[in-house]
Subunit: 356 residues, 2 copies
């Protein structure tokens, strides 16, 4: 069976402000020491397993040009443009429906465009296991990440170690983002995985699930994919997709059906979800600092400076992230990095939209 | 007797980096909400008491142009240019000697160019008291500031409340910059004042003291003032002044002679000695923050942002000073503001002299 990838690239990466902007979100940026952008790395990572003509990128229409510029050999047809972001359920339903329209029933590997994976070999092995499991029947497979610490920013997957077949474990339940105490319990228990949002299934299988559990989305994407390839496509897409309500596939499908399989994965996954993640992906000096760009540090501890051209001088700071860009500098306490979104709100309030 | 002012304006204001630079030090900047520079405020403050032709400004020769540009009516003759900074003893000896050469024996009021005084009326009253005391004999008068808190960055003056005449108290001793415990004892004792570095005396009196206690400087400045007004002046000045060793007048004269008088002063003096002093001279919001320029703050406490054009976004910070300039941003823990000098050293080490 043909294997296709669906890379979701419609996000705005607010937590990576001020580097990530509405006009150039995180997935189109080079993060850490990488000389390629996040989406380039994502495509490169799956190319040994999936041919370029089978890679589909779902993005907001305003990022179509960025995708074409960054992923040079991608057929234009394979860029699926959302007129507006509606979370992962409409996005993946649309991709499944279009892939099925083009290729007939296929294996679909759903990936985020802005995550890092350190161990490509392990990733490919696990992907193969998942693809085999998906090929063999109406199975939904989600890749679960062996938790490295008690992260409160992810949902968790509770799985059964005993209920194991074809290299996959049965999911017992999905759990919402926990508080710190719960997260610590999950990590200690050893039977919980981070929900990474990477999925593998057949297009026909997931579309059946949509038909059952999210019928409006199912009917909508069917209409859109019927128009795919015709001159009505854009109008139909704009009208129907914009009318979908925002819903995640986790909430809309995964939490409401069974069986679901997971593969406990340990391939150095990082969602690079905030500036804090830089601490995990870049080397630190003996005082726990990461100092880059035109920067000077005097007696700071555990600070991260993502410097640029302007001189940044840090004196006696602790646990702070500093990010310089051409027109804005962020100075953020590491334990408040989730509050960067409030800066964006404040900028809107102050009519400073040029910085969003 | 004629009253002259000597304003010392040769400092480089390192602790106000990055606003204060070698090419434009603190005394030539507008600090806080003032629409005039520090040196302009200093001249304006004494103009009701001392005529412009009796105001002398001692500065480094590289700042001569800045002084002329900022103090428009000042006779060029009244700008005394040091070829190199040699601390306050050579500076004030030279000024005294030149004033005596021009005007004969005069009252000399020595002031810093980069301090703020909130209550001008009180300042003038106390200055008059000091001038009267100086006029009446060979008295050295230093203005002592009633301490507002246990500052460890100033020297202190211990004075006798009982030994009081003509509105002046006798100084018992000068004490070096104390540690915090000592400073607290001094403030609690009520018989200590901050040594503000403002002096009043007759030129003949202070020159006699130099003759007695710092004879090399005395002989040197005599030679320089002998050449004053001739075409040899600059050569003599450069040669002799540069050869002086650096010494403060406190250490060289004030601590080694008696009697010295002080006037306990309470006119809202502030030496604006570091970025911390901005906390004293500008209004704070309800969370103790001072936010200026193109800045956005989310949930920070007790921070100060001296913003400029570039957007500064602060998130969840505490007790931090941020200063933005065209080419550099300082982010400094408030309790480490004395370490800004180490940034300058580091910039030298890194061959980034353009930021000094």
């Amino acid at each position: 069976m043909r294997i296709c990838a669906v890379i979701m690239a419609g996000g705005v990466g607010e937590r990576f402000w001020p580097k990530s902007r509405q006009a150039l979100p995180k997935q189109f940026l080079k993060i850490g020491n990488n000389d390629k952008t996040m989406i380039q790395l994502t495509v490169e990572r799956i190319l040994p397993v999936i041919d370029i003509e089978n890679i589909f990128i779902v993005t907001n229409k305003k990022y179509k040009k960025l995708v074409s510029e960054q992923i040079l050999n991608l057929p234009e047809r394979n860029i699926i443009c959302e007129p507006a972001g509606r979370n992962t359920a409409p996005c993946l339903a649309l991709a499944a429906s279009i892939i099925e329209k083009i290729y007939g029933n296929s294996i679909m590997v759903s990936l985020a465009s802005d995550h890092l994976i350190a161990d490509q070999k392990k990733f490919h092995e696990i992907l193969n296991t998942a693809v085999n499991k998906a090929s063999s029947g109406s199975n939904l497979i989600t890749l679960g990440i062996a938790p490295q610490y008690a992260e409160t920013g992810y949902g968790y997957i509770k799985y059964s170690k005993s209920d194991y077949e074809d290299g996959c474990c049965k999911v017992e339940k999905f759990v919402e983002k926990p508080n710190l105490q719960k997260a610590e319990e999950y990590v200690a228990a050893g039977s919980y995985l981070w929900n990474s949002g990477m999925f593998v299934w057949q297009t026909s299988v997931i579309l059946d699930k949509f038909k059952e559990l999210m019928p409006e989305i199912y009917l909508g994407v069917k209409k859109i994919s019927d128009a795919f390839g015709t001159d009505k496509y854009e109008d139909v897409l704009n009208e129907i997709f914009s009318a979908f309500s925002s819903e995640s596939i986790d909430y809309g499908i995964m939490e409401k059906t069974s069986p679901i399989y997971t593969i406990p994965s340990d391939f150095g996954w990082d969602d690079v979800g905030s500036w804090l993640s830089i601490d995990r992906i870049m080397d630190k000096d003996e005082n726990g600092n990461i100092i880059t760009g035109n920067s000077v540090n005097v007696e700071s501890k555990n600070i991260t400076i993502i410097g640029s051209k302007k001189l940044i001088a840090a004196v006696g700071l602790e646990d702070i992230v500093i990010v310089d860009t051409d027109d804005a500098v962020l100075i953020c306490s590491k334990n408040k990095s989730q509050d960067i979104k409030k800066v964006l709100q404040e900028l809107k309030n102050q009519n400073k939209g040029q910085y969003l």
